[in-house]
Amino acid sequence: MRKIVAAIISITVFVILTYFFITSSAPINYTTGGQYINPITHEHSNQSVPQQYLKDSKKDTGASNVVTAIVVEYRGFDTLGEVTVLFTAATGIALLLDELKRRNVPHDEPNFIVKVGSIVVLPFIVVVGTYIFIHGHLTPGGGFPGGAVIASGFLLLLLVHTNRGLPERKLSVTESIAGMTYALIGLLGLVFAHEFLENYLPLGTFTYLFSAGIIPLIYIAIGFKVGSELGGILHNLKGVHEE
């Protein structure tokens, strides 16, 4: 009975939502739907917010990747929050799994190909991950995917060395320092410019590695942070303790 009720409710919700999204004449074009109003000065603009992002991001931020410009500059405070969400989740996992006693499950020795292959592949994984987060302001990618790629290298290590963990203490120190760097870069904006997370470094030459002010610095911090956090989560889930 409960299953039938649940099915009826979810189907009804699905039908209502589909009906709504089909019939509503949602403006798909980014130019329509809004000449915004500045809530402080009450000035009306003659374009929408996404239009302005596309038009001005080069001049405002110096980043050739518009997505990065939006994520790290225009809405940088949200990104600090997202980094903190991941940090909170990793801390929570560590809090719950830290001192739980585990049974000693006998591990199979990994495949010979995996063992040898990991030695060959691992350096490339780390290099690709680093490349992705260092070039976040120029090419697709950035701190989050770059860090995740590096963490996949950690996963490979954990799979190959079945009865060993990762150096938890070092990961924790890296995570802390990277997080503090991000917050500090933001706070220095209050000192050297006027606002939190405002850019205070020269924008440099467009499309060059040394450009876009604080964006590469923030993405490097995020890359280290995400890599060490995801590594810590994997280590905690494996449950082998080693300093």
Partner: protein, 462 residues
Amino acid sequence: MVSIPPVLLIAFPLFFAFLAPLINMVSKKAVKPYTLFVLLLNSLFAILLFLEVQSNSVVYEQLSGFYPPIGILLSVGYIGAILAVVINVLAMVVYISYFGDVENSVKFSMIYMLVTASSTGIVITGDLFNMFVFFEITAVGSYGLVASMRTKKAFEGAFKYIVLGSVGSSFILLGIATIYGYLKTLNFYDIAARINTMPETARLMAFIFLLIGIGVEAEIFPLNGWVPDAYEGSSNRVASFLSLGPSKAGIYAIIRLLFTLVPIMSGFTLALILGIFTLVIGELAALKQKDVKRMLAYSSIGQMGLILIAISMHSKFAFIAAVFLMVSHALAKSLLFLGTRNYDAGTLKNPWIAGPIFIGVLSIIGMPPFPGFWGKWYLMLNLAAEGLWSIILIVVFAAVVEGVYYARFLFKGTGSDARSITKSEVAAIFLLAIMLVLIGIFPQYLYTPAVKAAASLLGGGP
């Protein structure tokens, strides 16, 4: 006078939470004083911010160097400033109770700081997506705090909270996407200025999506299945913290949604109906409970319903009532949750615990001269003035039910697992009781800002 950028209320605790593991490596003993220092600093900032709001009536701060809505705007009005002070000061007072405890985990303290910062973030932000991000931090941190006891009940409560919380988060995101799809903006006041250009159905859909998502955190009736289990499973201090931080942030988001984002009359009517259901069901369920923590949790739900009724009246006096009820609930519930573990028939004779608990109960059931009384008094006056006798009957009925089970709680003492109370817990309970008494005797210091908050919100401002 010192002018504090509101962003420091969020950025400093984040920075210090990132630093905490390093402090822990240097000295494990330093973690608790360090956390208390961070919370103290934050309370100080919150009070300075409140004073600044009192002289300027609203504080704006744009971030990243772009004017809104291109960049993110923090906007603190009266209601935000009041709640920022409540959340930060009370979080600090509740943290005092951790001193002298054997259990000492740096990770717990880090999550505590992060949840305090993100709850504060919800009440001072002026941007819809920014609010969503802070909701995420609050929710993820709260899951960890609830489960931190690592008992069966704790995991059950945390799991229910995770399921409902993630569904709620996706609904908030859907609501934000609907609004952004039409208006191409995320700033509260830009949305408020142009919400009428959205088609009727889309506006209603966005409203309902956001209400469902926020309702999980604000403990509104059909979405609060996690509340009793989560409060029962978590330790007393965590329950105390949850009832002062995240739930207040949730109510603030409801206020923002109703008054600023989608100010339609049918929205207020819907909120009123949900509030009545939440109140009646919460109080009746509390009456049946045998376990003290579950009873307090259901009583919390009932209080949330009452606050929601007061908000949805859309009038000045009722909103003042809502502010008093929120402050009363934050103070008294965190006091009761802190005290109950030690409260059974034996400790009734211990005046150090029984006295503050008695004060807390009196404030919740609305006895003068405590803030709960002022809240219910203003609400009744407003309801009578508008001639809504049926709602008055419901509220009085709920108050009677509340009186019955709190009287049973006081005289029979259904509490279990008594243990020796630490001095720090007594100190925290006493501080909370003193604040209750002070606000009850001098209500004008809360009344004046509450009037201005009501005037500003009813005028469509922050």
